[in-house]
């Protein structure tokens, strides 16, 4: 950028002094950015494209992002058929439906169908049936849909879920989510073994196990369908972990619970179940 100082002694009118500045500054700045565009948009893609057997137009489109792929490499294609483990898709309207569910209708359907096993307020009498009080609405919604589509199988629940019509599922989920959880059981709160608390708070990096709280603590920003575990039947939690470990239950998207459960030993499963049974969040 040469600054050709105007030699003739014109009055120091800024505009006269400015003339060379305005010219040279524009030339300098524009040349840098145009050189960048010429190289980046044209020269590099075309040269790279020739190496990868791509014509200039395709290479430039790929470099600009108008076509997928790199201008320098062939783009792989894949026509594998999908085999999803769960059909539930969290779209904005599903979330809106869940947010605007009608609790009264939900309560009516619960009275009619769910009370027998899950109890009216979601506190189930036997460990075979999970507590639903205070459970996350999204978790109930997903499990019910998985029963309907066969992603998850259970002697009774598959038929019950199929019998429900589509519109009442969010209402049932919202009703149980609204039920207050029972008060905590202070006795077992104190003696949770350090190893278990570490597993829940820190996870176990050496076994690639993330902290349970990272997904299961509400408000951790984890997966939407992660269920609330606090105050759940201990035996039910152990049973589900075993089903995941053996792969019998496989409606966890991308096998996260199956991988984690397969790495937990029996004693840890019991410790975790007792911890959550005690009502920790």
């Amino acid at each position: 950028m040469t600054m050709s100082q105007s030699h003739e002694r014109t009055p120091s009118d800024p505009h006269v002094l400015d003339q060379p500045w305005r010219l040279w500054a524009t030339v300098a700045v524009m040349s840098t950015v145009l050189m960048g565009i010429l190289l980046g948009v044209v020269v590099i893609p075309v040269v790279q494209g020739r190496g990868a057997g791509l014509d200039a137009f395709t290479a430039i489109c790929r470099a600009l992002g108008l076509l997928p792929g790199s201008p320098a490499q062939p783009q792989p294609l894949d026509r594998t058929p999908p085999t999803p483990v769960s059909q539930v898709v969290w779209t904005p309207d599903v979330l809106q439906i869940l947010a605007r569910a009608d609790i009264a209708k939900g309560r009516a359907k619960v009275q009619e169908v769910c009370i027998a096993c899950h109890g009216e307020a979601g506190v189930s009498p036997s460990p075979d049936f999970p507590h639903l009080a205070g459970q996350s609405g999204a978790a109930i919604y997903k499990q019910l849909h998985d029963y309907r589509t066969g992603s998850r199988v259970h002697p009774q629940m598959t038929d019950v879920a199929k019998a429900l019509d589509e519109s009442t599922i969010p209402d049932v989920a919202a009703y149980y989510a609204g039920q207050p959880q029972r008060n905590l059981n202070p006795v077992t709160l104190a003696e949770s073994p350090r190893a278990i608390v570490n597993l829940i708070e820190l996870g176990d990096p050496s076994r690639n196990i993330p902290p349970c709280a990272a997904c299961h603590r509400a408000g951790a920003g984890g997966p939407i369908e992660a269920p609330v575990l606090a105050e759940q039947h201990a035996e039910y939690l152990i049973q589900q972990l075993k089903l995941y470990a053996s792969g019998q239950r496989r409606n966890d998207v991308y096998a996260r619970m199956r991988l984690i459960a397969s790495r937990l030993i029996e004693e840890e499963m019991k410790g975790l179940a007792a911890y959550y049974r005690a009502g920790f969040r």
């Binding site: 800024p14 400015d18 500045w21 893609p45 600009l64 201008p71 920003g221």
Partner: protein, 538 residues
């Protein structure tokens, strides 16, 4: 001091308060992630701390220091009272309110999304609203700086604006340009998601808009250090500024080339093609020009001072410099850290080579050395230089000041040099606890402990810094009035309009932004990326 010393002190104490707090939790983080602190603290606490450390250092320390220093320059360099003083106080209280409104959700664990927000992870709406308030306060400061300069130019037609004020206004103009990106991202994408008005977010667009701000914001922080280099260091060293014209040109180049280069933060992102990444890498190379010009011009100015004090031979002037003065010592140490940090930077911007270091400790070392090192050490030097003018009291002795600067330098070098080596090994960022059982990670343990030692030295230096300033408020030695700003070898008599205002440069910036960011942003408006479900951190 005409009517601004309490305004400046208020800003500086908020800045340095946040700085000390951030140093404390920063050291805790270093300990928790080291082998000595394994399994101490939960991920929740760690990421809460990282968010608070980032917000305090990057948004509070910087914005308040720059505003306070801007008011000081506007009054002393222009030698006239600050216009709109009530607006300045209003801006201060708005920004301070914003800080409080941001820190509360962080403390409650409702905003652990780090200071660079990772949508679709979304924090409590208050976290973002607080930051918008801080930016709003800084916008008022920008307007005041522009008003002050134009008022001065009306009173002194045809005269060149003092370099310190010219640079401060360049910084304000650049800040107005660059906050557009984060403001649009927050107001139109993130805050509606945080309030629950929308359930999804276009992540590609959000990252591109944030990258618009992400680079020029670091130059917004850096320019006060360069103002000190150009307008205070030459006089402190007993010499003259080698070239005033080059000073103006440097700040103009910062304004032009720091804005259209934000996408070098997205080099490893899939949502942009190589073409625009290369364009912005090339422009990033030109953003190194002003720094390299500054190194030469300031070293030449120091050479003048050194030779005037009897320095002989090619490098005799170095020893002859008055290293006992904090401003000179800080410049020397700052330039060394700028060298190491700059080296880290040119590796980061190496187009394909970014793949070697992206999101590793190499990047952490880069910005700690350049911002945490050379910029913050100049913040210290500026504070030491102007505190007597603000409080009317002078330092009892310069020894503790020099000690503090040396501790900061040693601490920063010991903390960051191992990070370069660890970064090349693949040590990744933001890890609450490393799995030191893994053979690869086990090898990193000793180096993490070395950097932890550097962290402790930095903490001691930070405590000493706040002590050095606090002591002045009750000091007994009355400040002797001394001239502050340097005189150029050839003080400018008449300066082309281009070097006295920003009209031309704003036009060029607009053209550059359209050419560099036009397509990358339009790409999402033409065909939005498939939206991702918002994951709320509550």
């Amino acid at each position: 001091m005409r009517n601004v010393d309490r305004l400046c002190l208020a800003h500086f104490w908020v800045a340095f308060g946040a700085f000390l707090f951030a140093c404390l939790i920063g050291t805790w983080q270093m300990w928790v992630r080291s082998p000595l602190g394994a399994n101490i603290g939960t991920p929740g606490q760690y990421f809460m701390s990282v968010t608070a450390h980032g917000v305090s250092m990057a948004y509070v320390l910087t914005t308040f220091f720059i505003m306070g220093f801007g008011y000081f320059v506007a009054v002393t360099a222009l030698n006239r009272p600050l216009p709109g003083r009530l607006w300045a106080w209003a801006a201060f209280w708005i920004a301070l309110l914003g800080v409080v409104v941001t820190i509360i959700p962080i403390g409650l664990g409702k905003a652990s999304v780090l200071f660079t927000f990772y949508p679709p992870l979304t924090a409590s709406a208050w976290f973002y609203i607080g930051l918008v308030l801080v930016v709003a306060g800084s916008w008022i400061w920008c307007v005041l700086m522009l008003v002050a300069m134009s008022a001065w130019k009306r009173e002194h037609p045809g005269q060149p604006v003092p370099l310190a004020m010219f640079a401060t206004v360049a910084n304000a103009v650049m800040w107005l340009w660059t906050t557009i990106g984060v403001a649009v991202q927050l107001v139109f994408q993130v805050i509606p998601a945080a309030l629950g008005l929308v359930q999804t977010i276009d992540v590609g667009l959000a990252r591109t808009l944030f990258s618009w701000t992400l680079h020029a914001i670091v130059y917004f922080w850096l320019i006060p250090a360069y103002i000190a280099f150009y307008t205070m260091v030459p006089r402190a060293a007993g010499g003259r500024l080698y070239s005033d014209t080059m000073g103006r040109l440097t700040f103009i180049l910062f304004l032009i080339y720091s804005l259209p280069v934000g996408m070098h933060h997205l080099l490893m992102d899939p949502q942009h093609g190589n073409a625009m990444k290369f364009v912005q890498v090339l422009l990033t190379a030109f953003v190194a020009v002003p720094t390299l010009l500054t190194i030469f011009t300031i070293t030449a100015s120091l050479e003048i001072a050194g030779r005037l004090r009897g320095g002989r031979g090619l490098f005799g002037w170095i020893a002859a410099l008055p290293w006992e003065r904090p401003m000179v010592l800080a410049t020397g140490l700052g330039f060394v850290m700028l060298g190491f940090g700059g080296f880290g930077g040119i590796i980061n911007m190496g187009y394909g080579m970014n793949a070697m270091v992206h999101n590793t400790s190499w990047v952490t070392a880069h910005f700690h050395l350049i911002f945490g090192g050379s910029v913050v050490i100049m913040y210290f030097a500026i504070a030491y230089e102007i505190w007597p003018r603000l409080t009317g009291r002078d330092h009892m002795s310069l020894a503790p000041l020099r000690m503090q600067l040396w501790l900061w330098f040693v601490g920063m070098m010991v903390m960051t040099l191992p990070w370069h080596w660890l970064g090349l090994q693949g040590q990744w960022r933001r890890v609450a606890n490393f799995n030191y059982a893994d053979p690869i990670i086990a090898g990193w343990g000793p180096w993490v402990v070395v950097s932890l030692v550097g962290g402790f030295v930095l903490l001691i230096s930070a405590l000493l810094f706040v002590r050095n300033l606090a002591v002045l408020h009750r000091g007994t030695v009355v400040a002797v009035p001394r001239a502050l700003y340097a005189v150029a070898v050839h003080p400018p008599k008449r300066v082309p309009a281009a070097l006295n205002g920003f009209g031309l440069w704003n036009v060029l910036v607009l053209v550059l932004m359209v050419l560099a960011y036009g397509f990358p942003i339009a790409q999402f408006l033409i065909e939005p990326s498939p939206s991702a479900i918002v994951h709320r951190v509550r």
